[in-house]
């Protein structure tokens, strides 16, 4: 490589890098609303809804792209078992707050995960017993994976190598190698697994089981359940789960119990139980690590919890049946 070529490459990489880290200035979070078929945008400086973005169907899983330029939303129609026109993953440009693309990922997409390089999405197809991988640049489906019946939660390891898909009826978690597009393991967990999240060091997967009322820890090397703890005396209906960036705290949204469990990641000991809105499902942590957000499906609001005090500091009304939360800055 001559000096001129080297300079060109340096400039190109610098441009890409700048692109990947430049985040929109507005500190906002995005809430998917399953009932009202839209996304609420909350300015977290003022804790007010500053925009509502309409979508063509039920909005459920929601994630921010690694470059923080887009928020992706799983949208499905009201007719499971068939691939309808609304079924897909919709990309919203965070800066303009407009829908800029829709990707077909099979029928009834519910949750999904994005690779750290932002190039691929792995989505669960709730009514198909499958998960689908797509390449975002070309919108091309790469593979369809047979997982359990009624797949829902999708989580990805921080290095982008492993994808974990929960299946509610089969009580299973399927482990997919994202490098080879192969299902490499299936693990039985507790009753009705809903959501999953991978620890920052990639060694553990935390899985909620809604009907059992438990949280299970899967060892990603041994590919088996290492431990299971009961939440809210088994009667909380846990769904959403998030882990702090330092890996020290787990947050579980307990559905019918209307609470958020705060657990020590190492010991799984309960640190606090925070009353939030009615039927919290989605949960996310702010990028600065100061707040936790829950989407409360029956009270149609979002609870904002101060992580230092484990208390709700604000409640913001959003659309109908809020489902998930994505941090957008």
């Amino acid at each position: 490589m001559n000096p001129r070529e080297s300079r060109i490459l340096t400039v190109l990489f610098a441009a890409l890098f700048a692109s990947s880290v430049s985040a929109p200035s507005a500190p906002v979070i995005f809430i998917s609303n399953e009932g009202s078929h839209d996304v609420s945008v909350i300015d977290i400086k003022t804790n007010t809804v500053v925009a509502t973005i309409p979508l063509p169907g039920r909005a459920r899983g929601i994630q921010t792209s690694p470059d923080r330029r887009h928020v992706y939303v799983a949208v499905s129609d009201d007719h499971p078992q068939t691939t309808g026109t609304a079924d897909g993953i919709t990309a919203i440009d965070i800066e303009s707050r407009k829908v800029v693309a829709t990707y077909r990922v099979g029928s009834d997409p519910e949750q999904f995960a994005i690779t750290p390089d932002g190039s691929r999405i792995f989505a669960s197809n709730e009514d198909g017993g499958t998960a689908t991988a797509i390449e975002l640049a070309r919108g091309k489906q790469l593979a369809t994976f047979v997982v359990g019946i009624e797949p829902e939660g999708v989580a990805m390891s921080p290095n982008g190598r492993w994808v974990f898909v929960t299946s509610e009826t089969s009580n299973s978690v399927s482990m997919i190698d994202a490098k080879t597009n192969t299902v490499v393991a299936n693990v039985l967990v507790d009753l009705r697994p809903r959501a999953a999240v991978v620890s920052p060091d990639g060694t553990k997967v935390y899985v909620t089981a809604e009907v059992a009322g438990t949280l299970s820890v899967i060892d990603t090397k041994r590919r088996e359940v290492e431990r299971t703890v009961t939440l809210e005396n088994g009667e909380g209906k846990p769904v959403g789960v998030a882990v702090s960036a330092d890996g020290k705290r787990l947050y579980v949204a307990n559905g019918r119990a209307g609470t958020l469990s705060v657990l020590d990641e190492g010991t799984l000991k309960l640190i606090a139980t925070v009353p939030v809105g009615r039927r919290p499902w989605g949960v996310a942590i702010s990028r600065d690590g100061n707040f936790v957000y829950t989407a409360n499906g029956l009270s149609n609001d979002v609870s904002i919890i101060d992580r230092a005090t484990n208390k709700v500091v604000a409640t913001v009304k959003v659309g109908q049946r809020p489902w998930g939360v994505a941090v957008g800055w």
């Binding site: 198909g128 790469l142 009826t169 089969s170 009580n171 039985l188 009907v211």
Partner: protein, 296 residues
């Protein structure tokens, strides 16, 4: 309640397998089996051939249950086979379990399963006596009892038009909508109580075999009578067998058919504070009032 079941033919299995495979494209990646086949369960379920006309509800429920178990077998290995059985003879010793539910022969099949060393899952007989003086250590009742239905109606001061049911095709909470949709899409008809009970029976047997890593009737029976064993029946609560009479604990739905109002479906018992099992045990005979000797 009249009875019964269903023969699921080989032809039907082939058709169901084909319908499952059809939506999958050439890109489909089948999972590697992660457990050696030697430890994966082989489940052989006998389904009682009724003397009377089979109920299509049972037939379809079993077919969907088998279909879903076979889907799971792609992940974990193992196999499931349905064998029509006509009478209680020694050939049935080779079965893991028997599913049936005839009003006139439920007690006999329960006693027969005990002799054969397998388990009998009742998906149609509601008589209280089967959970009482006629109870059997090998009989497990997936369908609710008459007492449970009576209690469900009485619990809200039911009116004459009320009907208690184990399942209803319009249920939507707790994933009921996805199960109802799967059933309706596959069979173009709604899932009834008998259809749910038959589907649930296959699910119970498959999950028990999978977790026990054995299709042996004795291993399944042991699993079903563990205090902490529970199942998800898309009813929102963990379902488990009462150890004193082997009745499946479960919520019941009361359908109000008031001519002047639209149909209303409510779930009972209402969930209140306290143990879920205690609340569910408000339906039917509790341990103290049971005349079955199993748990005493």
């Amino acid at each position: 309640m009249t009875t019964i079941y269903a023969r699921v033919t080989r032809r039907e299995f082939v058709r169901l397998s084909a319908s499952l495979a059809a939506p999958l494209s050439a890109m489909v990646v089948l999972p590697r089996r992660t457990r050696p086949i030697a430890t994966a369960p082989t489940l052989r379920i006998g389904v009682v051939e009724p003397a009377a006309k089979p109920t299509r509800d049972h037939e379809l429920g079993i077919a969907l249950g088998v279909d879903e178990a076979r889907h799971a077998a792609q992940l974990f290995g193992g196999s499931i086979e349905i064998v029509p059985v006509a009478r209680p003879d020694d050939e049935n010793r080779r079965l893991s379990a028997i599913i049936g539910g005839g009003d006139t022969d439920c007690a006999a099949w329960g006693a027969h399963a005990a002799k054969m060393g397998n388990v009998y899952l009742n998906v149609g007989c509601t008589a209280d006596a089967l959970r009482g003086r006629q109870c059997s250590a090998a009989a497990f009742h997936v369908i609710p009892s008459d007492a449970m239905y009576r209690d469900a109606i009485a619990m809200v001061g039911g009116s004459s038009g009320d009907e208690a049911t184990a399942w209803e095709p319009t249920l939507s909470r707790f994933g009921a909508d996805t199960l109802n949709q799967r059933f309706r899409t596959r069979f173009q008809t709604g899932m009834t109580s008998l259809g749910w009970a038959a589907w649930m029976a296959v699910k119970i047997l498959w999950e028990s075999a999978l977790r026990q890593k054995s299709g042996e009737g004795s291993a399944i029976g042991t699993y079903l009578t563990r205090e902490n064993t529970q199942f998800d029946g898309h009813k929102g609560q963990p379902l488990s067998f009462r150890l004193w009479d082997h009745q499946l604990r479960q919520p019941i739905y009361v359908v109000s058919n008031d001519k002047n109002k639209s149909q209303r479906v409510r779930e009972v018992p209402e969930l209140t504070d306290g143990s879920l099992r205690d609340v569910l045990d408000e339906l039917g005979n509790n341990r103290a009032s049971s005349t079955c000797a199993l748990g005493k």
